[in-house]
Amino acid sequence: MSELATQLEELRRRFGNAVAGAPDEAGLEQVRIAYLGRNGEVTQVRRTIGRLPAHERPAAGKSINDAVGAMEAELQTAQARLESLTFQSELAESIDVTFPAIPAGAGSLNPVRRVIDDACTYFRRHGFAVVVGDEIESDYNNFDALNIPSDHPAREGFDSFWITATLLLRPHTSPVQIRTMQQHRPPIAIVAPGKCFRRDAVDARHLFQFHQIEGLLVAQGIHFGHLKGMLAEMCRELFGAQQSVRFRPSYFPFTEPSAEVDTTCPKCGGEGASCSMCGGSGWIELGGAGMVHPSVLREVGYDPDIYSGWAFGFGVERLALARYEVDDIRRFINGDPNFLEQLA
């Protein structure tokens, strides 16, 4: 046996031991570098070929290459073995997936904003703009311009907080109609959500501070059927496809014809005789609506013979109450963390 052969055999034996002893893939890589790397032992052996007589060199080169081939194969086998070992231990890890989650940053929008957002999203899809207004308003924008002169019995329905003899906290969002129509020419298509204030005694159904969402569409050829169409669709969007909407005649000085708008009680689906949400009527009152009164149009300089329009004003907390089946409207003010979490 040539010296080279002995040398290679010895090398392969040590290599074999080292491979067998490598504890993991990283250890195996070290073995590879030590034997087969650029400056590894095989390279050292290969360098000795130069010292051999020229005719022996091809055989020597071949025997080295054979050895390298074998070592690489060995390495590959070991690699496969260690790799599977690695995965074996990683795959052996096991957790209780039912363990409580680490809570994500628990931010949320107020349910009042969600209702407003969803309603506004519907109207914006149909080309409406969303306008916000001030909460302190003039009595002109609040009443006179809306066809409620100072002696009008309907003023009683708006028991308002007054700031001065002519300024008050708006009891409804309708002054936004007036402001918008004063600043723009028709067509007008807006929704106006916002805070309102009335001197109401607070109970499970009433707040003295609440939100309304107002809608106004004025153009040529707008009629009551358009009001019904959009409000019905809005209700389906807010409450679901089963929702039906009912319009009852009513009276508001700023609309004619006027209507009260009801929608199916979402809690009982209109069926519950003993339903706590609708009091058994099967309907939830959304608020008032109607065709804008000609006097209101005239007051902002629109010709009521050319333009017509509709308006509505709904109580947002009332909508939210029905939508989320909340038992008491007071929960919307200073909503406690549990309430906000549930409706997040």
Binding site: G107, L217, G221, F224, H226, E256
Partner: protein
């Protein structure tokens, strides 16, 4: 208004089902708040006590023989004390079912009783409104009749809501008229002819002088032969069902006629009206009157009174006075059926804080024609009760009749989107009592009936047509909306803000905009003296609603104090201030959290830094810009942990920890950190522009500097950046240390300086030279030492 259906049926044929009637009323614009179904009662008949004797075995019992038009009188034992021979009563016979019991044959102390005489309570009527003991029926009713039918008790009672424009419907006849029109059936009106005739005794003829334009009509009528007593049972029962307590026949007649026709009435004791002369005039300033409720009222000229020649007798349309009240001693009286200007009555009512069933009608301005109708109905009833009615005398005018309205027929379709044939339009309007004449082709001239003073313009008629046709017949259509120029920017900004904060883990709350004085009291308790520039409400319902908030911060602290646990919240809302009489209203935002105290040295506060990080992220998200902060002070905030926030040099708000003294004043157990921003000061969103990554790699060096305590991180970073110029792409303080190793008045700051060249890879030599330059400048500027 409580309306017994049986009363409605007197004037119009209606379906049997009360719920169907209620639905119809609702769809006519008169929502029914509740339907009260009377309990079902059977086996109660009308009887007359023909014989009454003591019970043989019991002192407290009587035994009556009651004629119920049967084969023989029935024997009934009773403990009642108000029974007498000849009385007509209601008798529950054997097998009768009452709300609380069923009548069975029984022996009372040895006497077999064949029924029970009943009281109001057993008929589920308010017992305190009726006689103690057995209910007395009118002697005219037929014996043996079903007493429940006779009394009109077998009826549902509807609680009907009537909108303020429909005073004509604030009566049984008014509602019956609506139902008749809607069902297309006839309305059976009672006779409105006044039975009063003949001349009054000398000097007793009522005269009326109307001295105010606010009295349109005044019908006066004298009645003699008055003996005040109980009204007939049918009337008392009907009033009770309508929620009106029976008092005596005179008061009951006036209430009955008001409920039936809508016309309020008033009766004066004729002997207590000087000269039988009524004067309708403004009250004199300081004039006094004691009204029927026993209250002495001091009047101003705003009040309209009915006076005689000596003094005010009553408040027009509101309430009569004690001085001319009808009493048991009254033998003759004068009826007033008047018509007043509604606005005048309403002003008087609100000034005096007095509201009555009469004023609720008068303040909406009744039809003048109703005065004579009311007088006639009252006279009919009083004559039936045995009074003598003299001639009714009307003063004033009938007022202007409703003006004819031109209705272009196409207006109906223009407003409703519903094509209703002209003939049908006319049919609907005529059903409501309008007279309709064709004016031109496609135009109608419509004259509303006398009682419909709310119909003024074509749109009013369109609503009437829609009501008659049914709102449900109008076809829903989604319109296509033409382009317009109204902006949604403000709303969008608020939405963007809310979503940005929600994404940062804050929950949105809504607190009260109206507040009491507690924020000021709490600030005072904390030793702080905030500016009092709040807007005050003139008429709060309670002291808790007196002021409009001038900041969102107190609401946030209060919320966190109430929750008393770590919580992260925000609020967007308006805040109000008043300076030099000028009221301002601005949108504001506050967000913050309460968190457990950390174990930290006095010079470090990780909660503050967390809030600052949220504030940066928020502003970046909403404005697309980076903010800057500088140490500052604000009342309510901790003096050493407060920073003013600005963007592009403009101050937009404040962040920091709340002053611990204020936290204590709010009883907040955990420290509270708040960022308060003025939304109007927020700059518009700026679009970011992309810069591709540098072509050459960067390198960095960390420095440990020892500087004086008052040197800020911002100063160090700014100085390094300024000294090195563009080669420095970042200078960021990332650690601070204080302690013995650096001395009591010095601190150590660790800074990472990132260096990069745009033209070539930066060499170690370049970097070292830059760092040397930075060290030099820091030494000069702050006396900084470099720590080994």
């Amino acid at each position: 208004m409580r309306v017994p259906v049986s009363w409605l049926r007197e004037f119009v044929d209606l379906p049997n089902d009360a719920a169907a009637i209620a639905d119809r009323l609702a769809m006519l614009g008169f929502p029914v708040a509740s339907i009260e179904n009377r309990p079902s009662i059977t086996g109660v008949v009308v009887g007359r006590i023909v014989e009454l004797e003591k019970h043989p075995n019991a002192d407290r019992l009587l035994v009556a023989r009651v004629d119920v038009a049967g084969e023989r009188p029935l024997t009934v034992a009773t403990a009642a004390t108000n029974v007498a021979t000849g009385q007509t009563i209601a008798l529950a016979t054997i097998g009768a079912r009452l709300p609380a019991l069923t009548i069975e044959p029984r022996k009372m102390r040895g006497v077999a009783s064949e029924g029970m005489m009943i009281s109001a309570e057993e008929l589920a009527l308010p017992a305190e409104w009726f006689e103690d003991g057995i209910m007395q029926l009118d002697s005219t009713v037929e014996l043996g009749e079903n007493a429940i039918d006779v009394l009109g008790l077998e009826t549902a009672v509807l609680d009907v809501e009537i909108t303020s424009n429909r005073v004509d419907a604030m009566s049984v006849i008014g509602l019956a008229r609506e139902l008749a029109a809607s069902y297309g059936v006839p309305l059976r009106l009672p006779s409105f002819s006044n039975p009063g005739t003949g001349a009054e005794p000398p000097g007793a003829r009522p005269r009326v002088s109307i001295e105010s334009a606010d009295c349109v009509r005044f019908v006066a009528q004298r009645f003699g032969g008055i003996r005040v007593g109980a009204a007939p049972t049918w009337m008392r029962v009907r009033l009770a069902l309508a929620g009106q307590r029976p008092i005596n026949d005179i008061v009951d007649v006036s209430n009955y006629v008001m409920l039936e026709t809508g016309q309020p009435l008033h009766f004066y004791d004729a002997d207590r009206v000087s000269g039988a002369h009524f004067i309708v005039r403004d009250a004199r300033n300081g004039e006094k009157i004691v009204t029927l409720d026993g209250v002495e009222r001091i009047l101003s000229e705003q009040a309209l009174v009915i006076a005689d020649e000596e003094h005010a007798l009553g408040l027009a349309g509101l309430m009569g006075g004690m001085s001319s009240e009808v009493t048991d001693a009254t033998t003759a009286m004068i009826l007033e059926a008047a018509n007043f200007n509604g606005a005048r009555v309403r002003r008087m009512s609100s000034q005096l804080g007095l509201r009555t069933e009469a004023s609720a009608r008068h303040e909406k301005t009744l039809a003048p024609a109703l005065a004579e109708i009311g007088a006639a109905r009252a006279a009919q009833l009083l004559v039936a009760f045995g009074a003598t009615a003299y001639e009714a005398r009307a003063f004033g005018t009938q007022g202007a009749p409703p003006a004819p309205i031109t209705l272009p027929v196409r207006e109906v379709e223009r407003l409703l989107g519903l094509d209703i044939p002209q003939a049908r339009i006319i049919e609907h309007l005529e059903a409501l009592g309008c007279s309709v004449l064709p004016e031109k082709a496609d135009r109608l001239l419509v004259t509303p009936p006398l009682w419909r003073r709310d119909l003024l313009i074509a749109a009013d008629l369109v609503e009437e047509i829609a009501r008659m046709e049914g709102y449900d017949k109008i076809v829903p259509v989604v319109p296509s909306v033409a382009a317009h120029d109204v902006s949604s920017a403000q709303y969008d900004l608020e939405g963007r803000i809310a979503r940005a904060l929600a994404a940062l883990g804050y929950r949105e709350i809504i607190t009260h905009s109206l507040r009491g004085a507690q924020p000021f009291e709490r600030a005072a308790r904390a030793g702080l003296a905030p500016d009092r520039d709040e807007v005050e409400v003139l008429n709060p319902l309670s002291e808790e609603q007196r002021f409009l908030r001038d900041s969102l911060v107190p609401g946030l602290i209060e919320y966190m104090a109430t929750v008393n646990a770590p919580v992260r919240v925000f609020e967007i809302g308006h805040v109000f201030a008043q300076r030099d009489g000028r009221i301002t209203e601005r949108p504001a935002l506050a967000f913050g959290f309460a968190a457990e105290r950390l174990d930290e040295p006095a010079w470090r506060d990780a909660h503050f830094l967390e809030l600052k990080g949220d504030c940066e992220a928020f502003l970046r998200d909403v404005t697309g810009r980076r903010d800057a902060v500088s140490a500052g002070a604000r009342a309510s905030f901790h003096p050493g942990k407060t920073a003013l926030v600005s963007i592009d040099g403009r101050e937009i708000g404040v962040i920091g920890r709340i002053d611990p003294r204020l936290e204590r004043a709010y009883d907040a157990k955990l420290p509270v950190y708040v960022c308060s921003l003025d939304l109007e000061a927020l700059p518009a969103y700026r679009l970011p522009h992309y810069r591709p990554p540098a072509k050459f790699p960067s390198t960095y060096r960390d420095l440990a500097l020892i500087v004086d305590l008052d040197v800020t991180a911002q100063q160090i970073e700014g100085t390094i950046a300024g000294a090195l110029g563009p080669i420095c792409t970042g200078a960021r303080v990332f650690d601070e240390y204080r302690g013995r190793q650096v001395g009591a008045d010095r601190k150590s700051l660790a800074v990472r300086i990132t260096l990069q060249r745009t033209d070539t890879t930066i060499t170690d030599d370049d970097a070292d030279a830059a760092i040397d330059r930075a060290i030099e400048v820091l030494r000069e500027a702050f006396g900084a030492e470099i720590r080994a």
